[in-house]
Symmetry: C2
Subunit: 676 residues, 2 copies
């Protein structure tokens, strides 16, 4: 099944390998390291700081409080028994936090972070069995046998997250006892599940992407071979079905390379895809890579929300069918956002196509940024696009159910999202820029992918390119790039023009402003020290219409501003008007209003059905009143920061309003006007 | 909390008590008995026959095959152990089938049915413990302790279904060993959970409605007192929350009388409400009855589908919030339809209001009739209003997951629906007509509620009224009623005019046709032998519009014909046109087509988003082509009878189509035209 590798005309030499979570063994592109981009101010700096000061310690506190950390101590002490707090996968939260701490230390060199990391490793390492097996839930007295429940046991899933933490440690600090532990754990997995071992896979993919990267980080391809074996084994129904879960849940009913669209549990599907991309790239399996690209395109075009959110079902935490995109019950799990970034980033590195980075930007600003509270100590697990009720059951200092809406919660019964955010935000820099060595003519190209105020240091084969970025993006349109250092003869610079920026302009030094198209813009000349580039990505508010096949959004429109999806919130609506009764007048212009927008709305006066009947009648029930009012849109990622609210992203379009003298019966219709 | 009973000016004497599942101890209305209405031909006769010849034995075969019946044998033999097939509530399926068999025997006096009943009782009775405890899952060696899991154990739920079967037996055959068994089981429940016993309720309501009816059937009010105690205990958070289930799931977070709308698991909510109505009526608790009526009205107006289906969430099998009514993910569990009938029937008996019977008609024709296959051996568990994919995972001779769509399945992992349908269809007659003794002036009124070809025998206090009905309703408009016997001086006759029949007419003998309004129509004169009444309920196809607040149905319209909801199915669509691309031209008239309708549709030509982006764009994406075609609507209850299909009930309304010469940009909009 393996085919020839993607053609590459250049490659990254070992001495320039970056400190990053994803470092393909083949291909011409690599991301900058977390230490090669310094954020100074702005959107991502603020979120990363909250992660540093809030989330990291918050996660430790909760895992201590709930006994998830003590589970390791009890295994070490031989006192683990039937009563073990936490789900079977709670070890993985500790590992995701270790990964976050490793990136955090790698980025900041903050010794306090390193001390915390080491103190956690003390406890984790003490729970390791002699043969490299490490899991607090299985394989101890009073506990189920090792690998006795591959469908739901999550043992390999936990091992995978441990290995991702080990990769982070290896790349940020180098060989140490934790890395050695990781080697033993990985070797144990290979012994147990290798070609001569158990013919099984884990119900929750993760070991695949972890082993693939572990192979890259250690240079030992046998780990990649094992990852490949797991990918190829999957899809043949070896996992026992679980009552009340769909057959698609595990992605075990059809092989990865035969899949048309992502389906089943969203995080599972996306973790598996991320690992499969790694295998396709490193093994040179162009057929598999093409299949994964097709899956991405199918899923993004039909099963993905405006926010980039994936997974439209609470049941199974799963993808829906094509066009099944409810706003109120949109699940859009925060972890699925993380997983989507993982897949898209790998596909960008593999192909160089801008749409993968565009989806990452959508997802970063509208899923990743939406989940945490400003102080990084409360989180959304699900990220719906409509909140119908202000009431919320979320408890402020307690373990909450996973998908309760309307208020961010400090911790969850299944608390996968906080630590997943932590590792993602701690390594944000690694997704912000890249070097493309694929151009024979001009050598390495420096590629800016995400715009943030700070310094980007590209270690090109020709020398260092240092670019300082000044911007208030995404709240302002202008991005100013100044070249501080450049290799002799200059360096090729490539800028990403987001999909939505249809009126973007670029100005180089004193040159004329040039209109540029979404996608890639390669500067005409190599840049040299002192060059200044002014990029304008107009973040004016705009209407965004759903595809006509999305039943749950028919007759509605959203407002976006640059990469930010906006929403309306009950806090901003004149008293007495409920969100159910608001329609947007799309003939009125949208104005900037703070970081959001202001439009004009009309109240819908609903003629209800007869008493005692379901809400259906012989005539369309909506009629707008003649008064209109200002409707404020705020960035979606900030919703519910002012207390419980009702909220919606997609707002019904105001029906045409008749003036007196017109046929009154004609006003009684729904939908947009027929004026252009 | 108890208040004065509803005022009544008449009552039903014991010697005229009907053979029916619901026989309130107070109030002026009672339903006819299952033996007082004889179906001869038509819609419900066909379904009842399939139940008799297909479903009853089909259920026994599956429960034998899966060991659910043998569980009783094993308990009797003392061989029950850790390995017990079936869910913890599988006993209840046996009991629901016993209830169905009891009604079937009561209606038909078919001795073979009685023999089957007795053979099942042999096995059930053998598993009874000495103290009246009867459950194959708990309280035996190797099994969990009795009442060790009130949240999910379903022990009282199972006991409740046993008691409903006992009531059916008592009313159709009288005291016997099964009734004696029921008394012991009920007495056991009273000892364990009485005022001095455990302060607990069952996670799944059912014991309430069962004990209330058992009290009526036995005349012993202590059973009603226990039911009342269960109702009053509920809502105080005594049930342990279950991870991943909502707090509302059990209806234990707020007392019944303080509830605004039904919420949480739909079947649980409705079974509880049914029992609460019984308590309210028999205990004369007008406040509780008013609260339940309010809950019904709130829920029906905002959380109920056009089909009468209830429960919009797969997750928790639960009610959604107000206006949360997705079509594709509509759960509309068949059992929730059964439970809704239970509540509405009790509220009709308590109040005499026609809207309760209207909802029953909706639910009967569009939920109950939709679930079974024509031969009664395969079933829908969920009844969505849209099927997006023809593919189905349903296995023809296997246990299926509960909610797989598109193909009826022979049996389910949780197989509550087949036996629930069986008991409902076996007793259909009991919901079709009533006697209202509340009119001092004229004595008992005979009330016809559901129109079916056959004979209705009203045993009025003044004597027998025998009415023969000829009709092909709901496929034809005309209902012909002929009075064969009547008491001396005639009898008052009341006809239900369904909510949808706005142009109904009635003609008595040679009199003029009279226009009548939806609701109740009381004939001007008492009817006497030989009188003929011609009722016309015009079943012309009509458009039905969703309330403007239902986001998931905005911009769509449904077609109904009489009480039947219609749908479009891929089988009937010209080749190459997918259902996603169909819009209904609402300016064209609807014609009768078989039992359904024919309209005109246009194809939607969707201008998709740019490649690689989610399905959202800067302009509305739908534009209809100029060609139109005939669109066939078929009764929803028959969908998927011709093999897997895609289907939808609510069809998008065709955007206004411009002719050449008009502004082309203006055509690119969604929604109905603004022409009347």
């Amino acid at each position: 099944m393996t085919t020839s590798p993607p053609q590459s005309s250049g490659s990254v030499t070992d001495d320039r390998r970056a400190v990053t979570p994803v470092d393909p063994a083949r291909g011409t592109r690599h991301g900058l390291g977390i230490d090669q981009v310094s954020l100074e101010t702005g959107f991502w700096k603020t979120l990363q700081d909250a992660n540093s000061t809030g989330t990291l310690r918050h996660c430790i506190d909760w895992m201590e409080r709930l006994g998830w950390l003590a589970n390791f101590d009890r295994v070490a002490a031989g006192t683990m028994d039937e009563n073990r707090p936490g789900w079977q996968f709670s070890d993985s939260e500790v590992y995701k936090l270790l990964e976050a701490l490793a990136w955090e230390y790698g980025r900041t060199r903050d010794t306090e972070i390193d001390e915390i990391f080491e103190s956690l490793v003390d406890r984790v390492a003490a729970a390791e069995d002699d043969d490299g097996y490490l899991n607090t839930c299985f394989g101890h007295p009073g506990r189920p046998e090792r690998y006795s429940d591959l469908s739901m046991g999550h043992e390999l899933y936990c091992a995978g997250h441990l290995l991702q933490a080990v990769v982070a440690r290896l790349r940020t600090k180098g060989e140490d006892r934790f890395v050695a532990l990781g080697r033993r754990v990985a070797d144990h997995v290979l012994r147990e599940f290798g070609p001569e071992g158990r013919d099984g896979v884990c119900g929750h993919p993760e070991i695949e992407v972890a082993l693939a990267e572990f192979a890259r980080a250690t240079g030992e391809t046998r780990y990649r071979d094992q990852a490949q074996l797991f990918v190829e084994r999957r899809g043949h129904g070896t996992l026992s079905p679980i009552p009340l879960l769909s057959r698609e849940y595990f992605q075990d009913e059809i092989p990865v390379r035969d899949t048309e669209s992502w389906h089943g549990h969203a995080v599972r599907a996306l973790y598996l895809a991320a690992g499969a991309v790694d295998i396709a790239v490193d093994a040179g399996d162009a057929e598999l890579l093409a299949a994964l690209e097709d899956q991405w395109h199918h899923t993004v075009a039909r099963r993905t929300y405006l926010t980039g959110g994936m997974g439209s079902r609470h049941q199974d935490e799963g993808f829906g069918e094509d066009w099944e995109l409810p706003t109120d019950r949109a699940y859009c799990e925060t972890c699925a956002g993380v997983a989507s970034l993982m897949v898209s980033w790998r596909l960008y590195l593999a192909t160089g196509r801008s749409e993968y980075v565009d989806l990452m930007e959508r997802t970063l600003f509208n899923v990743i940024a939406t989940s945490p509270s400003p102080d990084g100590t409360a989180f959304f697990y699900a990220n719906p696009l409509q909140q119908r009720s202000e009431s919320s059951d979320v408890l402020p200092d307690a373990v909450n159910s996973r998908a309760e809406g309307g208020v961010r919660a400090p911790w969850f019964d299944v608390s996968c999202c906080p630590t997943n955010l932590a590792r993602t935000l701690a390594s944000w820099q690694s997704y912000s820029a890249a070097i493309d060595a694929g151009n024979d003519d001009e050598g390495d190209v420096a590629v800016v992918l995400q715009y943030a105020a700070g310094e980007y240091r590209f270690e090109l084969s020709s020398g260092l390119l240092r670019v300082q970025v000044h911007t208030e993006y995404p709240h302002a349109s202008e991005v100013h790039l100044k070249v501080h250092d450049a290799p002799p003869g200059g360096a090729p610079l490539r800028l990403r023009v987001p999909y939505w920026a249809i009126d973007a302009q670029v100005t180089v030094n004193a040159g004329p402003a040039e209109q540029i198209e979404p996608g890639w813009f390669d500067l005409r000349q190599p840049v040299s020290e002192g060059d200044e580039i002014r990029l304008v990505l107009p973040v004016e508010p705009r209407l965004t219409w759903p595809d006509a096949r999305i039943d749950a959004m028919r007759g509605t429109v959203a407002v976006e501003r640059g990469p930010l999806v906006l929403c309306i919130e009950s806090h901003d609506v004149p008293g007495g008007i409920v969100l159910d009764a608001i329609t947007l007048d799309t003939s009125a212009s949208l104005e900037n209003e703070g970081d959001g927008a202001r439009g004009r709305a009309r109240v819908l006066d609903v003629v209800g059905p007869a008493d005692g009947t379901p809400p259906f009648g012989r005539a369309p029930s909506g009629r707008t009143t003649s008064e209109d009012f200002d409707l404020i849109f705020v960035p979606y990622h900030r919703w519910a920061e002012r207390g419980p609210s009702t909220m919606r992203v997609f707002v019904p379009v105001a029906p045409h309003v008749r003036l007196s003298g017109e046929d009154p019966s004609a006003a009684n219709v729904e939908g947009p006007t027929d004026e252009p």
